[in-house]
């Protein structure tokens, strides 16, 4: 596929709105495309996509392909693969980028294996090697203890990008670009799975991904109660959300949807307060992008103190109420 050119971003869209991760990847993709002096295109797959195509142009794309079909409303790889196979054949990109989301992490490897190429998952940084024009991808390995730079010579190169790892461009409605319909006749014989329903597990209050402050608890909290009492009190004062490391989720103290970490939510709030969290690499992968990490832990050797900006070594049962009372006094 020596003639393949340009970068194709596989965008995600719901209710006519572009996902923030798609704008982030279009920002990163724009920079790479400019280095290559090639086009940045974007494919949006879904139902009732509306003006999201224009939003993708404003976010940096030269050309947007819209595959709008009621059968594509819910992500499922039997249908999305059919769209992507056709898109790769017609658009013939050099590089394909998608988000490290539930959909991207499902689609990228299937597409890569179908094309006989390699995908690099969950990338933190993307760069072009000027000599070869090949994409070099940096990602965390060994649970975040190390990083590795990967490349591959098989074209197209495929990579998924971690949420909040790259910055979107400021949306520019004056940016020139083309939005075209990308029609795909789906072959029913290839559809071996179907979505019966999607269950939303709404968390009361502000969503953890959107919160400016997150108060998170770990194994050290010892049970579910502190999450609804002490942590909730502090989160309320800070107008923030509650998070957790993996042990409280595995022990069913809190819902899985608030797990922060490599396999949970990846967040980057202004303030991240870790209470009774040891700071495993797995967990830190989910919050290391936070502006300020604050740790309360009784173990002075806990890894969290290597990652935090401020910390108190002590029993959270004593430290946290005093901290919360003082915060309340200061912010009011």
């Amino acid at each position: 596929m020596a003639d393949n050119k340009g970068i194709l971003v596989v965008g995600e869209v719901a209710e006519g709105k572009l996902f923030p991760i798609t704008a982030e990847i279009l920002g990163a993709g724009r920079r790479l495309a400019d280095e290559l002096k090639e086009q940045l295109s974007c494919i949006l797959i879904g139902d009732k996509i509306g003006d999201a195509g224009k939003a993708a142009v404003a976010a940096g794309a030269n050309k947007v392909y819209v595959a709008d079909d009621v059968q594509l409303k819910e992500y499922e790889n039997c249908t999305y693969m059919q769209v992507m196979e056709k898109a790769v054949a017609e658009i013939a990109p050099r590089i394909i980028l998608m988000g490290q989301t539930a959909n991207g992490r499902d689609l990228a490897p299937r597409l890569a294996f179908k094309l006989g190429v390699s995908a690099v998952m969950d990338c933190l940084e993307l760069a072009i090697d000027p000599a070869t024009k090949l994409l070099q991808c940096t990602r965390a390995v060994y649970g975040g203890n190390a990083k590795a730079i990967f490349t591959s010579e098989a074209i197209p190169q495929i990579a998924t990008v971690r949420v909040k790892a790259s910055s979107p461009l400021a949306p520019d409605a004056g940016r020139q670009g083309e939005v075209v319909v990308f029609a795909v006749a789906l072959d029913a014989a290839k559809i071996k799975a179907r979505v019966l329903e999607t269950i939303k597990e709404e968390v009361a209050g502000i969503k953890i991904e959107d919160a400016a402050a997150v108060v998170a608890g770990g194994r050290g909290l010892g049970g579910p109660e502190p999450f609804t009492k002490e942590l909730a009190d502090l989160a309320k004062i800070l107008k923030g959300a509650i998070g957790a490391s993996r042990p409280p989720c595995d022990n069913k103290w809190v819902p899985d949807s608030i797990q922060v970490g490599l396999t949970g939510k990846i967040i980057a709030p202004e303030l991240y307060i870790a209470v009774g969290i040891s700071g495993s690499s797995q967990h830190m992968s989910g919050c290391s992008g936070s502006k300020c990490i604050v740790a309360i832990n009784k173990d002075p050797e806990a890894n969290i103190f290597k990652e935090a900006r401020f910390g108190v070594v002590g029993d959270w049962k004593v430290v946290l109420p005093a901290f919360t009372a003082k915060v309340k006094e200061l912010v009011q």
Binding site: N77, P109, S118, K147, A193, I199, D256, L271
Partner: protein, 269 residues
């Protein structure tokens, strides 16, 4: 149902980050003596998912474990047997070392074709060393079967249909998939069961089947590192600045209050 679970032996991911060391020259991790190998935790949960199906009718369901690697520790790789799985196949050879997801999935696909007809394949959502999360989907693509990834519940329905709950950002999808199919399992499934003493005794009597590349019809020069598609340009340990301002005071409560003050001074709150 004929079920296959793919398991990987990894170094204990719960080991303290301080024990972690790299052999940068060879782009790989050094195994510290105090860190023991274990079954990749997500793979253990994949075994659990298969066992929950087998629990319903022990005679009607069979679970075969396939494990790829070299110098596999028998007590480790036999753990799924002691949990209740029926058979263990080891793809064990020095030639399998140094592979990426493509090498691993290709060898697993060859082994599964040799095993014969199957209904369900389970994998962990990702392994804890490279955290790649590609082998499951890749294997399904190579075998040309449907896949559902990051599942938290699997239920067998009539007519070879399987109902799967797949974790997504704000909840979960419920899917119906036609077997044969591959499902990757996430930690939301819940904890894997412990091995019982009876299970450990039974497992100790079972001998694993060992297959070399040639047994799979593969050229030993074209598996493992030689079959890689992704090249590691560089492996490195990021330097951590570690400049935590530890707030101390006469009592933990005072330290807590002082912490709040400090955050205010630094305009964090």
């Amino acid at each position: 149902m004929n079920m296959i679970v793919c398991c990987k032996q990894v170094l204990d991911p719960e080991a303290a980050p301080a024990t972690f060391k790299l052999d940068a020259a060879n782009n790989r991790m050094v195994q510290p003596p105090e860190v023991k190998p274990v079954v990749n935790p997500y793979d253990e949960q994949a075994v659990e998912a298969a066992l929950r199906i087998k629990d319903k009718d022990k005679a009607a369901h069979k679970i075969t474990i396939i494990c790829l690697g070299n110098n596999l520790v028998r007590d480790v790789v036999k753990k799924p047997l002691s949990m209740g799985a029926d058979e263990l196949i080891l793809l064990e050879d020095a030639a399998f070392e140094g592979g990426d997801s493509f090498s691993v999935a290709s060898a697993l696909a060859a082994a599964i074709k040799k095993v014969g007809p199957f209904d369900l394949i389970f994998c962990g959502r990702q392994e804890s060393e490279w955290d790649d999360g590609q082998v499951g989907s890749g294997l399904a693509e190579l075998l040309d079967i449907p896949s559902v990834t990051v599942a938290k519940k699997v239920e067998v329905l009539d007519g070879g249909k399987v109902k799967v709950e797949r974790v997504v950002a704000d909840g979960f999808q419920v899917l119906e998939v036609q077997s044969p199919a591959l499902i990757t399992i996430s930690n939301e499934l819940g904890e894997a069961r412990y091995a019982t003493l009876k299970g450990i005794m039974a497992a100790s009597k079972k001998q694993p089947v060992i297959w070399k590349p040639a047994d799979l019809g593969l050229d030993a020069g074209k598996v493992g590192a030689a079959a890689r598609k992704a090249k590691v340009v560089k492996l490195f340990q990021p330097v951590k600045e570690g400049k935590c301002d530890i707030i101390s005071a006469d009592s933990p409560a005072e330290a807590g209050a002082l912490l709040a003050q400090k955050l205010r001074e630094n305009k964090v709150i």
